[in-house]
Homo-oligomer: 464 residues x 2
């Protein structure tokens, strides 16, 4: 691979400024691997965050990846595994020596282990669980009983709680005398006698308050409790909407069972966005730049197959007008313009609608107003482009009637595009289908079929 | 609006489960506004978080919004303004009584005021700055000297720091005796004598350590310092990549000037994603479901205009083959299929590429491998769809040669689509243009032109 890195222009990519993993660092590391200089490799890897090392492993090819891991050996940190994309992760776990894997995994927090093992196949999962101490293994297996993508999988079990009647002094003394506080915690969760969370006190507030102040008098204004069964997407939404830093998780009896912190919610938010953006483009949401050719091909195929059916459907509409096209070949020249404009206008509407559904900004309260507006926008833009295309049609083919036909078809298709772009995602959402996944296929089918039919149909009526 | 809310099916929208702002709550609030029952309105709004109230104001129409704000009056909280979309925000500020606006703004933290005023026009900005106390006003005006979308605008100025040589006991005593600790802080930042940050100690770690332990021995492993001039997108990337909770911000002399917390970084991450997703669909990144018709029309027009030029260009290619189409009208029927498949395959590639560039997963180290892979994927999927379309062409039009032509054109266009989908975003990024913004137009132009030209050109060569 080292020759590849030399082919690009010599300047650094702009976007790498200030980040540890620039192109030169990668080249140096691969060179150390080439000459099998373990000390040099460790020295180069040492300043890198596990997340950067994971990125590095994703960027190099499978052969370099294997050699690097073998040479790095016992230095391999468990967090690197947590940060790796799923497909690469399985490969890396296969390459690691069993002893190195066991050591790496033992250092992780239980919620990170859950995240790690939930996607693995059974033998790999077993290998990792076997490496854990008994208590950790139990914690991980308990978390795995919650449904996938639920708050229960996302939460950490270690929480810091205090009875609701305590004062600041009691809480501080308790914390000062605790042996094993969690690695990450920012709040003391107040609980009632039945272990139900009733409020959050930030550590900063605790530090800044006098000993005799009651904890319940200094709780945070915004307090949000998360059911363990809640979908992780809803959890991320709540953190983002209410600016939460951490939130208690409760079981079906509203008893405290764990806690979620904002950094985990941020990862989920990032993944949900990634999913939306990829699904809108008709790509499987697990697609990564590091996928192998066979995986990429498989991930792209289904949407292309759907599109083929759509395109053939549109062609069948055109086939109905073969006679007209033979008489006026200009129709064949101009018809893709109408369909293409409709497809683009529809994509615009549907993207805004899909985003608004995801952020709960499109609801029963404003749906009808939004629909009316989309139709109006389609009509206005349709009218503008109708005038432009009418003139283009007139000048290009010298026929005012042809200009009028394409103008009328343009207005019709842009209005339909606006309407379809909003109604189809809303209907899919109501039917329980992710609108990001399926809207595109439906909307372009509508705009293609309507576009060709309106243009060619009007042409037959007016021109023949 | 209240009649609109009755038109939908009676069940609650799925996505509103567990959130305060469901359709019924909106209807009740609007009813209280209708009958001008201020006490009822306040009682209904009381359980809502300012973020939910902002969503409510965005969802109702302008007339209801004005009446609601007038009736709510002095209860109006400054945080609602922070949470509002920009266009609605300006309108709301215009509707608020000056006294209510002044009270609302005075309650906000200085970084929230900065976020609020930076997008306002001069008279509104002045009105808000005048409402602030002198010290707050100075803080806000200083923040505004940093470039827009920079870390300096995003940071809060209140930080908690300690000399690097202190021990835990000294830090705790200092915090216990401080009069005004910031509302939000999770770390004590260690600084050297020249005020340069050298490490972070979490409050949890501070609480759990013995008094004589040195602060520098319990700093967090991951420590990331942010330059005040850094772009906020890079800041969000760093928080997400390194799982930071808060990070110190430094000036050009590396002296501590402020701090950014993860909740603000999460908002930026969300905005950046929103921008990417909208730009990829050819919609202005400020587009919101609450925009007025005129704004929406303007925000959608430019991309449609670009697409019209693209579509006309593709039509000109078709026009070169008018004679062939007149002889074999099946060409007009089949040609949109080739172009459409290329457009979709190109969109798939470019979306994966744009995401990979944004997350720094596509770099000089793996670019050539990714390009090779995209071409290969295009060839494999192209071959599969070539066989399918070859058979369709043969059966539909009874010509093996026509089937062969469409099959060959399909392979060519899908390979070109894969290549264009990766090369165009990378070149745009190198040229300093956001690839999310412009890639789509270029890629579909390429796939349309190549699709029509390959299909019709081959047809002329083979069939005539």
């Amino acid at each position: 691979m080292s020759d590849d890195t030399e082919v690009l222009a010599p300047e650094e990519p702009r976007e790498d400024d200030g980040y540890a993993l620039d192109r030169k660092a990668v080249a140096r590391i691969l060179y150390a691997v080439d000459i099998e200089d373990r000390e040099q490799l460790i020295a180069l890897m040492d300043p890198l965050h596990p997340a950067d090392i994971a990125d590095l492993l994703e960027q190099v090819n499978a052969f370099d990846r294997m050699r690097l891991i073998r040479l790095y050996d016992r230095e391999f940190d468990g967090e690197i595994l947590s940060e790796l994309d799923e497909t690469i992760r399985e490969e890396v776990i296969g390459v690691l020596r069993p002893q190195v894997l066991a050591d790496a995994v033992r250092d992780l927090e239980s919620d990170d282990v859950v995240d790690l093992v939930e996607d693995l196949d059974a033998p790999q999962q077993e290998a990792i669980l076997d490496a854990l101490e008994d208590s950790d293994r139990v914690a991980v297996e308990q978390s795995l009983t919650y449904p996938e993508y639920s708050a229960g999988r996302l939460m950490q079990r270690e929480v810091v709680m205090a009875p609701e009647h305590w004062n600041v002094g009691e809480a501080i003394d308790f914390l000062r005398n605790s042996d094993n506080l969690p690695e990450q915690f920012y709040h003391v969760i107040l609980v009632d006698p039945r272990l139900r969370p009733v409020g959050n006190v930030t550590l900063g507030k605790l530090m800044g308050s006098r000993r005799e102040v009651l904890l319940k008098s200094i709780t945070e204004e915004t307090f949000h409790v998360i059911p363990a069964a809640q979908d992780e997407g809803e959890v991320a939404y709540a953190f983002n909407q209410y600016h939460l830093i951490s939130a208690p998780v409760v079981d079906e009896n509203e008893r405290l069972v764990g806690m979620i912190t904002i950094d985990d919610a941020m990862v989920v938010l990032d993944e949900e966005h990634e999913e939306d953006i990829l699904r809108l483009a008709g790509v499987d949401e697990e697609s990564r730049i590091s996928d192998r050719v066979i995986d990429t091909t498989k991930r792209r195929f289904p949407w292309l197959a759907v599109n083929l059916v759509t395109a053939v459907l549109a062609s069948m509409v055109i086939a109905q007008f073969e006679a007209a096209i033979t008489q006026i070949v200009a129709l064949a020249v101009l018809m893709p313009i109408v369909a293409s404009m409709g497809g683009n206008a529809g994509t615009q509407s549907l993207t805004v609608a899909v985003r608004a559904l995801a952020t709960k900004d499109l609801t029963g309260s404003n749906l009808w107003r939004v629909i009316r507006r989309e139709v109006l926008v389609g009509a206005v833009n349709g009218a503008i482009f109708a005038v432009i295309m009418g003139i283009v049609g007139l000048i290009w083919f010298g026929s005012a009637q042809l200009g009028g036909v394409i103008a009328a078809a343009m207005v019709i298709n842009l209005v339909v595009a606006g309407l379809a772009g909003i109604v189809i995602p809303v209907l899919l959402e109501k039917a329980g289908v992710d609108p990001a996944l399926a809207s595109g296929a439906f909307v372009t089918t509508v705009t293609d079929v309507v576009g060709f039919f309106a243009f060619l149909g009007l042409a037959v009526t007016v021109l023949l």
